[in-house]
Amino acid sequence: MERHGRWLIILPPLVFLLVFFLIPFAFALKISFAEAALHIPPFTEVWQITADHHLRLTPSLRNYAYLLNDEVYAVSYLYSLKTAFFSTLICLLIGYPMAYAMARASKATQGILMLVIILPFWTSFLLRVYALEGIIRDNGLLNAALLWLGVIDHPLKIMRTTFAVYLGIVYSYLPFMVLPLFATLEKLDITLLEAASDLGSRPWRAFFDITLPLSMPGVIAGSMLVFIPAIGEYVIPALLGGPDNLMIGRVLWDEFFANHDWPVAAAVSIAFLVLLAGPIAVHQYYRVRQLEH
């Protein structure tokens, strides 16, 4: 195509994403140095042009100092990391055998199973969390069933506990773990396993020596797909968790909607970005580069 004509194709997405995805971070950075104020918009100006045409900077480091001093931020950040890590691990432990069983099914069954795993992914995330709440509520189906069976004589307290948060994350993100695992396990060359067995390797040994290492790309891809949304999760801890389940997404939400402290929320976003999304983006970038070569 002509050299200039191609800019007609490149520019629209480039400019749109630049203005509405990248530049917002610059504004967030600027506002993180402002102070909360009681007007619209609810923060002070970081710079002003004075009457004699000089630029006057009035940045405030108050928000960042606040992040360091108020331990709720550090605690909730670490708590989010921990929750995301363990939910990813649980998804992996459940998802791996599921994907393994799928990979062993016949081609026709695989197609159906794929559809069965993908279907919840297309269904509303919010409604699925709500549906789970119907099961684990104090007077929900699980407690009713257990009481009826006589296993327990008081309803179990599951809602508003840490367990409910883990259950919610695993329930919501399990398909994200199963699909990439299935994709790598399906392509696994079984002659390798046969060779191992011919050479006297026990099935478990063959699994750890061959299957697991070869499925590592799927393990990593699935884990990233669970870990990344889990760490910034808001809906699950807010609907299923108790007051102790302070994940960073929830703290951010409250800072914004309950306390109306936009500059602090901006500072939390920037800090979060540097501490977490930054390293992930760099990792992704090198992965994409690797794939391109």
Binding site: R6, I9, I10, P12, P13, L14, F16, L17, L18, F20, F21, P24, F27, A28, I31, P41, I94, A101, R104, G111, I117, I118, L119, P120, W122, T123, S124, L126, L127, Y130, A131, L132, E133, G134, I135, R137, N139, Y171, L174, E186, I190, L193, M224, I228, P229, I231, G232, Y234, V235, A238, L239, G249, L252, F256, A266, S269, A277, I280, A281, Q284
Partner: protein, 275 residues
């Protein structure tokens, strides 16, 4: 892989699938419960569905959500396809790295961060240039931004595997580059275009976090209304609404799955005939 079923593996698979589906099935069951209490079965009734049809707040929010989803998935389809063409067909241009980064970043960015930063942009823009005021416009812009990423990734991988020699053959036969692309390559990548439009549509329809930040006081999308009702506890009309949505989505996915399989079988049959 070998066809040897271990009972343990099968059990995990079945339990896992049951775990994914049981809550939704129970929800659908309870949407026909005459009693408003979640724990009591009061007999079969469709009253919550009738009530849903008379709930103006929900109907208005549903209309807004559908409109937003249609606009943003279409916008994202156009921008994402252009971005995919740029990344696959133009190997060297200024800003390629930037574009690659910007189409991949929304996939790893927590929604809450995207929501806050975009709101701060919209507020600052309103102050500086007087546009856009918060409402449907800002929701659509935000949704286009994150859906574009999904469209680009999907179309990019399809376009990369599309056979370019067909397009070259068309050009040898006198077609212009644009015509060759539209007549030859576009039909080849159209399944990817359709599926990425559908994916964008559902992502937009389902988004709660970003919409909550960038929407104005008078524009509540369906997830925002559902969330505020769910937060307060059980509401039977939400059960009915959820059941309708789950069934509609299920039907669409099953139809799409069936059509893809039929298409594949057709293609195999065609390939046999061509031999």
């Amino acid at each position: 892989m070998e066809r040897r079923y271990s009972p343990l593996l099968l059990t995990v698979l079945c339990v896992g699938i049951a775990f994914l589906y049981l809550p939704m099935l129970v929800l659908i069951g309870f949407s026909f419960n005459a009693s408003a209490l979640a724990s009591v079965w009061g007999g079969f009734s469709t009253e919550w569905y009738t009530e849903l049809l008379h709930n103006q707040q929900i109907l208005k929010a549903a209309a807004l959500s559908l409109e937003v989803a249609a606009l943003s998935s279409t916008g994202a389809l156009v921008l994402g396809t252009l971005a995919a063409i740029s990344l696959v067909r133009f190997t060297r241009f200024r800003g390629r790295l930037l574009l690659t980064g910007m189409v991949n970043a929304p996939l790893v960015m927590p929604e809450i961060i995207t929501g806050i930063t975009q709101l701060l942009l919209f507020v600052s823009m309103l102050q500086l240039v007087g546009w856009p005021s918060r409402g449907m416009t800002t929701i659509v812009i935000s949704h286009i931004a994150f859906c574009t990423a999904y469209v680009t990734i999907t179309v990019q991988s399809r376009l990369a595997t599309a056979d370019r020699s067909l397009e070259e053959a068309a050009m040898d036969l006198g077609a212009s580059p644009l015509q060759a692309f539209l007549d030859v390559t576009l039909p080849i990548i159209s399944p990817a275009l359709i599926s990425s439009w559908l994916l964008s549509f559902t992502l937009s329809l389902d988004d709660l976090v970003i919409s909550s930040f960038v929407s104005g006081p008078r524009s509540s999308t369906l997830p925002m209304v559902i969330y505020s009702k769910v937060k307060l506890g059980v509401s039977p009309d939400i059960n009915a609404l959820a059941s309708l949505i789950i069934c509609a989505v299920g039907l669409c996915v099953l139809t799409a799955g069936y059509m893809v399989r039929r298409g594949e079988r057709q293609r195999l049959a065609d390939a046999q005939l061509a031999r």
